[in-house]
């Protein structure tokens, strides 16, 4: 027989399209998945209102959600990193470091403060270069970096204190009519990032790098540059997170945001993002951050001791992820 591997690539010898019925179903699941973050937020919100009806007011929401802004910003920072298939374990201490710089240099000698913050962002970009060029796992590099950030922060501000610049405090205590400021700010952040990452032509390149880095390289895009840009953006949002945080607390501490690392990861995932594959959602991430911030208040209203809170938040995360897995099951296998 002189059949030369014909069988393998015979035009007939391929798939049969029999999934049109499945597509409708998959779309349904997709909408369901997209709505899941919103649904969890509503559930936590309703539960909170039920536990403490007085929170159902402009003032109550404002108070409960005030820390949502820095968390949302840190979550967006984490999302940028996750977009390119990496994970940032240093965002919490980094936000703490920014807080320390903000409460000292930025207040005393603004120019020096701005330079220091710009250096922080540059350090993030450099971290991306290190990760990419040396082919190191991002988890290891960022975990190492987290101790560096913490160390510098302790050097700058050995004990809690400092003073946030007045303009920061002014921004963070802004009053907006009807809808509380944190909600407006969070939505504005989400919308801005959505336009940049989800609809702009450069956002496509960023997400594509998470989806199929090889294809991007073949199309002539530099993965190094994309990663550095994404890390620099993460640094920028980390800086914004730190500044908004001390705008609320008015003073700083090196450990002020240690929990943010996990909040940020949880927020991205709660919001429908995936650890790999460049599938992220800015609105989802911000909603995830709001959910986590609210969950904290809810647990306090339920008189659950702070010691148990992290565990309880973990439970919420597991429940939502389990629901997502449930939605995913049965989705057409390919």
């Amino acid at each position: 027989m002189t059949n030369y591997g014909e069988s393998r690539n015979h035009p007939f010898l391929s798939y049969r399209d029999c999934e049109s019925r499945m597509t409708a179903l998959a779309l349904n699941r997709k909408t369901l998945r997209a709505l899941l973050p919103l649904l969890s937020l509503v559930i936590v919100l309703v539960a909170t209102f039920y536990a403490q009806p007085r929170t159902m007011s402009y003032f109550g929401l404002n108070l409960m959600l005030q820390y949502a802004v820095p968390i949302a910003l840190a979550t967006i920072a984490q999302m940028f990193i996750i977009t390119v298939n990496d994970l940032d374990l240093s965002i919490g201490p980094f936000v703490g470091l920014v807080g320390c710089i903000g409460a000292t240099y930025l207040n005393d000698t603004p120019l020096l403060g701005i330079v220091a913050l710009a250096l922080c962002i540059a350090a993030y970009a450099a971290m991306a270069a290190l990760i990419h060029l040396r082919n190191l796992p991002s988890i290891v590099v960022t975990l190492g970096a987290s101790f560096v950030w913490l160390g510098i922060a302790v050097l700058i501000l050995p004990s809690p204190g400092g003073k946030a610049p007045d303009w920061l405090k002014a921004i963070m205590s802004l009053q907006v009519p009807v809808v509380p400021f944190p909600i407006v700010a969070a939505l504005a952040i989400a919308a801005l990032v959505h336009v940049g990452l989800m609809t702009s032509s450069y956002g496509v390149i960023m997400r594509g790098t998470g989806g199929n880095p090889r294809a991007m390289a073949r199309a002539g895009w530099s993965e190094l540059r994309t990663k550095m840009a994404m890390y620099a953006l993460a640094g920028l949002f980390g800086v914004l997170s730190g500044l908004s945080l001390i705008g609320l607390t008015t003073s700083a501490d090196a450990h002020i945001a240690d929990r943010y690392t996990l909040y940020a990861i949880a927020g991205v995932i709660l919001g429908g993002g995936e650890f790999v594959g460049g599938r992220v959602s800015p609105f989802g991430a911000v909603i995830g951050a709001l959910t986590l911030a609210l969950a904290g208040s809810f647990l306090i209203f339920m008189r659950i001791s702070p010691d148990w809170q992290i565990g309880a938040q973990g439970a919420i995360l597991i429940i939502v992820l389990a629901l997502r897995a449930l939605i995913n099951t049965g989705e057409a296998r390919r």
Binding site: T199, G210, M216, G220
Partner: protein
Amino acid sequence: MPKVAVELTRITKSFGAVRALGGVDLMLAEGECLGLVGHNGAGKSTLMHVLAGTLRPDSGSLAIAGEDVSAHFSAATASAHGIRCVFQELSLCPNLTLVENARITHRALKGFGWKARARKLIAAKLDEIFPNHGIDVDAEAGDLNIGQRQMAEIARAFTVTDEPLRVVILDEPTSSLDAVTAKQLLTFMRREVAKGVSTILISHLLGDVLDHCDRIAVMKDGKVVAERAARDFTRNSLVAAMGAAAETKSVRQIRSRAAKISTEIAVAATPETAGRTASLTVNKGEIVGLAGLAGHGQTRMLIQIFEGARKPGGATKVAGEAAFIAGDRQSDGIFNLWSIGENTTVSSLKTLRRGPLIAADREAEMARDWKERIGIRTPDMNDNILTLSGGNQQKALFARALGSKADIVLMDDPMRGVDVSTKLEVYDMIRKEAEAGRSFVWYTTEIDELSHCDRAYIFRNGAIVAELGPDELTEDKVLHASFAESA
């Protein structure tokens, strides 16, 4: 003499000790379709990667339209010079829509309204090449099936924005297309060629290459060994030029084995993937092939048998233990970080124990033993598995399955990307093991391989639609059974 579109001169490329390209000269004229054929591993894909700028050659030069570009050649410069490539492994980003995927290859698609422009561009090209394609350009690439993805990628390669379109490389472009769309593509390709675009068509379908190319270059062992006008080739002369190993395994030889197969039944199963289907039985010591169009339920069947062996008492009856040999080595087969020895012994650890611990000396002994028996080409079984070539990695997987105590060996198209000599060695080994009483269930996409089976079941849409005995295992019969009704 038409103008030269691309000229490659003495291109060499080695991967470690493996010489993939040994000084290739190739010229492509404007408005010409060049067919590129050759065995697996002849260097076709490597050469195309060099041309597309995604691999740097070790030496040699590359000129596009008379301009020597070898100094700073990259994917970006290739694209700027109008070279497009549809790679064999597709390069769409699964998380992006087709519109967004179009943006990736076109730097000009930016600024306000880029999405609308990109949508128009890709939709128009899809309509032009594949009328009635029914693909939603706003769907994420990951949600499309493989044929649709291939169509989208082909259409993308032919779209034009600010960069010229000079050469399109199509590497096995029809591998996931059905007959109708494949025909549409080849017709479209000829239209583009008539307009002055040059194309390189790499295909295992010799008929396509003979019918649609102007000139054919044959590659073998990293070199172009024959290059003539397509009309000067015939199917047979092409095969001869490729130096295809003369595999004339006689069916009769196998048939003589039939008498030795025991009547004891090793596997009895009915595919769960279809409502109306025949059942499958495998006798002890028998080699049973699963064939039909790729992806029509054969792998599901193997997994079903494998699971049946673990859960006695189910609908799938399996007498004894089963071992699975994956065809997709990278994702289902090897442990990347382990040594060759560890990869080989992992299925047999139960028998290599001393008390609760693994006996390292016995493990090493088994690894050594299999290195000899199956001929894994390595100086040391403690080297990492990735130091082996693909064929030898596959041998390690065979050793893993054959070395275990499994009575039934399930093979999921295990010869993908394996060189001919390895294949022949493994075929021999399978036959010997079968004679020793082991049963094999062998899914293969290569009809030739069915001649090593005692019987074969043909799958279509998840159902078993035919059973072929030893003297029926011919290409005609298999294709006929695979296509009845649907073709």
